[in-house]
Amino acid sequence: MRVPVPRPEDFRAPAHTPRVTARVGLWLGVAFGLCFATGLLSHFAQHPPGWFTWPTRPVSLYRITQGVHVLSGVAAIPLLLAKLWSVYPRLFVRPPRRPPSLVATHLAERLSVLVLLCAAFFELSTGLFNVAQSYPWRFFFVETHYAVAWIAAGALAVHVAVKLPVARDGFADRPDADRRAFLRTAWAASAVAVLATAGITVPWLRRVSALAWRTAGGPQGLPVNRTAAAAGVQVPADWRLEVVWPGARHAFTLDQLAALPQRTETLPIACVEGWSATARWTGVRIRDLLAATGAPTGRAIRVTSLERAGLYAASTLPAPHAADPLTLLALRVNGEVLDADHGFPCRIIAPSRPGVLQTKWVTRLEILP
């Protein structure tokens, strides 16, 4: 038996009309736009180009931008599927045979849509696996997710440029009851998807969200992104915190750090995976620590961990964050000595920073020139 290849006019469901496509497309465009913008911000926060400074206020800034990044991606999943269902009949449009110019535009448009879809599906699926801390691939996630984001954004802009007249006509007509029902369903699926995951960063949804990857667990009430065991960290008996700059070197024992004036600040730790958790951190202000050693101020600081290997064994604290009164070298969290998995003997906690840069198991602070 031969299955006949359908033609566009064989599809008669109410969703297959530009009136629906344009509306779902607009929501999808908003979701992708938010996702791309916040993704760029996160990339710049982690790999700042020379012209870029990530602000230290509000303290929850990264928590908000990265929460929006991940949740707008989640919201886009049902919207993308609804959008594609709306235009699925167009897949079966028979290409024109001539004239050559028409054939060429037809092929170019199809190719641009294919590129857009490859990129869109890639971003959503790899993002979702990444937040589940599951990596069934051989490419480098960060580089590839970033590169394909540019392709998706570019292909989307081309697509909007091509389809703008069709979309304008689509918006001019009011959809009938069946089509409005389809649009409501797409909206609802998107809203439920967000509700099912937003518990990663919205406290009152923590117990509600069935698919949140952050739970209420973890030592001292905080989730751990990399345990001391996974990082291969063992704190030596003669551990010291070194504070160094050209021409000077100071060393502190843990008791000496605990004898310095202690501050307690309530700050969120916000991860690239979109989850966040707020805690009360107690320790020495970085600013006070530098003053105690007579170190130069107003400079960026290179923070080194006991962790030997790994991308995040060291981080650079930008000058505004280093000078911020809220930035601590934390020794305690929520009233207890830091758990080994939270960075004992001490960790950096600064306002408005990606969690991977809140370096744990700190052993050395180098004041950069």
Partner: protein, 133 residues
């Protein structure tokens, strides 16, 4: 509008070209993941949606169809999002406080609540349609 379209098109081409240039070193490893989405969608997901729609049209009274379709759309969305969390191939070492929920159990509760709502809404819609009809 012509100027806006031209500007969007040129900027879009430039952004995509930049992305492609950044992607080059990772392309061989990422190619399968890039192609898989559209292929799986066009060959598996969309036909399945179409066939389900046809079946709903034959099996259900008109008043109930919309509610059941909405229930299926939400269920499908939640199942898709659950795949990486439940399956987790090539996972990172265990992290306390992350990915340690009973996803299957809590999803079952959500889906049970969803389908109870769909059932009630469909019955109510059917009842209203009959009274009118």
């Amino acid at each position: 509008m012509r100027a806006v379209r031209l500007l969007l098109g040129v900027a879009g081409l430039a952004a995509a070209a930049y992305g492609a240039w950044l992607l080059r070193p990772q392309l061989p490893a990422a190619a399968a993941w890039l192609v898989a989405g559209p292929v799986l969608h066009d060959a598996v997901v969309a036909p399945l949606v179409g066939l389900t729609g046809l079946a709903l049209g034959r099996l259900l009274p008109r008043a109930a169809r919309g509610w059941v379709a909405a229930g299926l759309a939400v269920t499908g969305t939640l199942l898709l999002i659950a795949i990486p969390l439940v399956w987790r191939p090539h996972r990172a070492p265990p992290n306390p406080g992350l990915q340690d929920r009973d996803y299957v159990g809590s999803l079952a509760v959500w889906l049970a609540a969803l389908w109870l709502g769909v059932l009630l809404a469909a019955i109510a819609a059917r009842y209203r349609a009959r009274r009118r009809g």
